[in-house]
Amino acid sequence: MARSTRVTLAAAAGVVLLAGCAGPAPSTDDPLTGTVTVFAAASLTDTFDAVAAEFEAAHPHVDVTVNYGGSSGLAAQIVGGAPADVFAAANEATMQTVVDAGAAADPAIFARNTLVLVVPAGNPGEVTGLADLSRPELAVALCDPAVPCGSAALQLLDIAGVAAAADTLEQDVRGVLTRVELGEADAGLVYATDAAAAGPAVDVIAVPQAEEVVNRYPIAVLTGAPNPDAARAFVDAVLSSAGRRLLADAGFMAP
């Protein structure tokens, strides 16, 4: 419920922004048509809704469909032949598996993200830093190491020398965020952008070592794209200054 509300708000914000800036009027003889299917990391959920809304306004004959999920699972679907046009992953290793399979070429980095420590509003577990994740009495939620946010969490804990006593290893970053939002976990590691999207439901505790573990987000047109022209235009929109602005609004760092 909270998530769909956020998505709606983000989409609405995108539309309002557009109306406000009164950009170039959509050309009626726009050559791009059809549907662009974008597979995007779960952490891009709200942001890519806004990018898609702007893109559709600029290209009135194109529909954008975004499929969000754990990057690794999306990559497996693409390699398995899913009819997608664009892939945006939460780390380079995941994109590399798609490139190695010959399903994508020349990915471009469009954003960076870091991890933050989140706790339920009011911080019931009195968490002050990464070291608290080893306290056995706290309920700690992390991503599973099989997905990008989990491998980043593992690196970060390694750098900090903390042996975390995790109580659950979630499938994607939004799973961790939900447990913290509900108060079912006392602490969790999520991307800075997810913490920003959660708003007042969570308190953020800055982690000094987090800057050493940066996820770089690559995007690429897929070699089997059913609609390559529109796919290229969508990637360009993400990389454009307008796209950068939407990403920055969500808390992503510039590439």
């Binding site: 754990g70 497996a76 398995g80 099989a146 109580d167 290893l169 979630e170 447990r179 509900l182 079912e184």
Partner: protein, 263 residues
């Protein structure tokens, strides 16, 4: 008339499509299974852990369903009118509910901020993230199968033997233990098998309520779904293992206790 005794060609054709629809996905699973790597995948630590956890929690959940579900089935069989309709509806809801919704409901009652769960957590008896939470989730989704299987047998059985036992001096507990339970033994066995296979396959309520931690809450279906993210071959191997365990339970018990499944 032999013509009336046989289904029409159209019925047979559609039935074949239905059968293919049910069987072909499982055939694909068997064909695409990484047979060469299978031994290595199946004896790996995460798989052994998930299998052990699934069998253990499945057995405990089935026992819990028996202990709690048989009396509920007896109560249901004695009820009538509006009370019976209400009771039936209450028992049916977990059966038709998407398991994830069941998991959310369990969190709201027994979670660390739940209506009862908060007091339990403060007393150091928090349920989420424990193997106990897996059992709670499985019991919640599986118990209706047992209740309806037992209640079905009860309503078909001749209940006058219970009255006869009572007139011969048996007290109510003796009637239940010595007459009612043996009377519905086939229903209990069928219900227990359904419970166990349902508990074994439980995913949504478990991952929502209990979480996902190897050796504690990560059962076979959860391990299989996660493996799909990174290692599809391992996911197929896990799925195959689940299929084999479920089939073994069905085939092993079919002739003994399951009149409905017998070929």
């Amino acid at each position: 008339m032999s013509r009336g005794a046989r289904p029409s060609p159209l019925i047979i054709a559609v039935a074949c499509i239905a059968l293919a629809f049910l069987v072909l996905p499982l055939v694909a699973l068997v064909i695409r299974a990484p047979w060469a790597d299978l031994p290595r995948l199946l004896i790996s630590e995460p798989v052994a852990q998930a299998l052990g956890l699934s069998l253990l929690t499945g057995l405990i959940s089935t026992a819990a369903c028996l202990v709690l579900g048989i009396p509920l089935a007896v109560l249901l069989s004695y009820s009538s009118g509006a009370a019976r309709r209400l009771l039936r509806a209450a028992i049916t809801v977990p059966l038709v509910l998407p398991p994830v919704v069941g998991g959310i409901a369990l969190l709201l009652l027994l979670g660390r901020r739940g209506i009862i769960g908060q007091a339990l957590a403060e007393a150091g008896l928090g349920i989420p993230y424990t193997t106990g939470a897996v059992v709670v989730a499985q019991t919640f989704v599986a118990m209706p199968f047992l209740v309806f299987a037992v209640e079905g047998t009860l309503s078909a059985a001749d209940r006058r033997t219970e009255a006869a036992a009572a007139t011969l001096g048996a007290n109510r507990w003796q009637v239940f233990r010595l007459v009612t339970v043996p009377l519905v033994a086939p229903g209990i066995a069928a219900g227990a098998v359904l419970c166990f296979t349902r508990a074994l396959g439980e995913f949504g309520a478990t991952i929502t309520f209990a979480g996902s931690l190897p050796g504690v809450t990560r059962t076979l279906p959860i391990a299989s779904y996660l493996a799909l993210q990174s290692d599809p071959e391992a996911a197929i191997a896990l799925a195959l293992l689940l299929l084999v365990v479920s089939l073994a339970v069905l085939l092993g018990l079919r002739d003994r206790w399951l009149p409905g499944v017998r070929g």
